[in-house]
C-alpha cells in the first residue's frame, strides 16, 4: 500500500488533471484489466469462488427467518424468475422512505419488515450471500439508463462526490478512474470503476465483499476518512457509478485481484 501511495504522488505531479471524461471513451469492465489467470477464475463457475456465496444465498433464500418464519422464497418464489433483472434497477428510489436505497438495503428491508428478523450487518456473510445471489440472477443483462426522475438529484450528488478531491493525497475518484484508467498504480492497473461485478470475490480479501467495501478501500488509499457503510453518500456514489456503467453487463460474482 505505501508503495503505491508514493508512486502515485510522483505520477500525479506529472500529469495535470484534464477533463478526459469517460463518456468519450470505450467502457471497459474491470475484468479487462486483470490477469488472464484471474479472468479464467471468473469465467468458469466451477473455479469462481464467488459461486460459494451464490450457493449460500440460495440456501438462505429457502430458509424461514425471523418471527414471521417466512422465507424469501415463500413470498418471491423462484429467484431465477422473480429476481431476474432486479439488480439492474438498484439503487432505486424508495418511496416509503423518500430516499434512494441500494440492493443490500432493500434486502435488509425485507428482513426487518417482511420477515420480522433483525437487520443483517453490512458485510455479514449472510447479507453478502443474499445480495450476491440476487444480483447473480441478472448476470449477463446490461445496465439500462436510469429513468426515475426522482433519482436525478442523487446522481448529481454522486457525480460531485466522484469529482471532489479528497484525502491527504487530495485526489478525486475521477483523477484515477476517468483520467488515468489503464495506467498503473504500483503494480495495480487502474480500472474504470464500474460497479457491475459486485458483490465480488477479491483474492486479496480472500472473501466476497460489497461495492462499498471496495469504495472504502479506494478512499483509505488516498488517506480520506471513508464514508460509513450504508451512508447516503455511498448510495449516491453507487447510483452515479451505475448510470455511468450503462450498457455494461452484470458479472456478479466477479473475481478481482
Amino acid at each position: 500500500m505505501r508503495g503505491w501511495l508514493s508512486l502515485l504522488a510522483i505520477g500525479l505531479l506529472l500529469a495535470a488533471a484534464d477533463s478526459n471524461a469517460i463518456e468519450e471513451q470505450p467502457k471497459l469492465s474491470g475484468l479487462e484489466f486483470v490477469s488472464p489467470e484471474t479472468r479464467s477464475l471468473q469465467a468458469d463457475d466451477a473455479s469462481n469462488p464467488g459461486m460459494l456465496w451464490v450457493l449460500r444465498g440460495e440456501q438462505l433464500w429457502q430458509e424461514p427467518a425471523g418471527r414471521s418464519q417466512a422465507s424469501c422464497a415463500s413470498c418471491h418464489g423462484e429467484a431465477r424468475q422473480s429476481m431476474r433483472g432486479v439488480a439492474l434497477r438498484y439503487p432505486a428510489f424508495d418511496a416509503g422512505a423518500g430516499q434512494p436505497i441500494d440492493l443490500k438495503g432493500r434486502i435488509n428491508r425485507c428482513r426487518t419488515d417482511n420477515q420480522d428478523a433483525p437487520a443483517l450487518e453490512h458485510e455479514s456473510e449472510e447479507l453478502l450471500a443474499l445480495t450476491t445471489y440476487v444480483a447473480h440472477q441478472s448476470r449477463g443483462m446490461s445496465v439500462p439508463p436510469v429513468e426515475d426522475e426522482r433519482l436525478r438529484s442523487v446522481i448529481e450528488q454522486g457525480e460531485s462526490l466522484f469529482r471532489e478531491r479528497i484525502g491527504q493525497l487530495d485526489l478525486s475518484c475521477a483523477a484515477c478512474h476517468d483520467d488515468r484508467w489503464g495506467q498503473r498504480l504500483g503494480s495495480s492497473p487502474i480500472p474504470q470503476a464500474h460497479p457491475t461485478a459486485y458483490p465480488l470475490y477479491r483474492l486479496e480479501w480472500q472473501t466476497v465483499g460489497s461495492l462499498q467495501r471496495r469504495l472504502r478501500n479506494c478512499m483509505i488509499g488516498v488517506r480520506a476518512e471513508p464514508f460509513a457503510y450504508g451512508s447516503p453518500e455511498f448510495i449516491a456514489l453507487e447510483l452515479y457509478l451505475m448510470q455511468r456503467a450503462e450498457g455494461l453487463p452484470v458479472e456478479t460474482p466477479g473475481v478481482r485481484p
Binding site: A46, P49, M51, L52, L55, R56, Q206, T207
Partner: protein, 106 residues
C-alpha cells in the same frame, strides 16, 4: 455452514482422462493472525483432502497454512467404471466434510 462445489463430467468413456475440480468454503485461518483484542486466532485450516473413485484413492493432498481461503483443487484421473467419485476434506478441528458425484462410464 460448509459449502462445497464439485465439477466432474457426468459421462465419460472408459480410459478417458477426466478433469475434476473441487472447492470448499473454508477460512483457512493460518494461526498467525490476532483478533481485534490482540488474542491469537488459533490455526484452523483444511489439512487433508482426499478423492476416492472405484474403490481407490485417486488423489490426495496435505494442505499447509500458506494456502488461501476457500481452497480450489483441480486434478485429473482416468475413467474406469460407473460409480461415485467421493471427496473428503478434514480440518484442524477434526471436522470432516464430504461430497460425492456420480459418473457414468460407457
Amino acid at each position: 455452514m460448509t459449502r462445497t462445489m464439485i465439477s466432474a463430467p457426468e459421462t465419460a468413456r472408459a480410459g478417458d482422462v477426466v478433469e475434476i475440480k473441487a472447492m470448499i468454503a473454508h477460512p483457512m485461518e493460518t494461526g498467525y493472525r490476532v483478533d481485534a483484542t490482540g488474542k491469537p486466532i488459533p490455526r484452523n485450516i483444511i489439512n487433508r483432502f482426499e478423492c476416492t473413485y472405484d474403490g481407490e484413492v485417486v488423489f490426495a493432498a496435505d494442505l499447509h497454512p500458506a494456502i488461501s481461503a476457500n481452497p480450489f483443487i483441480a486434478f485429473s484421473t482416468i475413467a474406469t467404471r460407473s460409480g461415485p467419485i467421493s471427496f473428503t476434506w478434514t480440518d484442524d478441528e477434526g471436522k470432516t466434510e464430504t461430497a460425492s458425484v456420480e459418473i457414468q462410464v460407457e
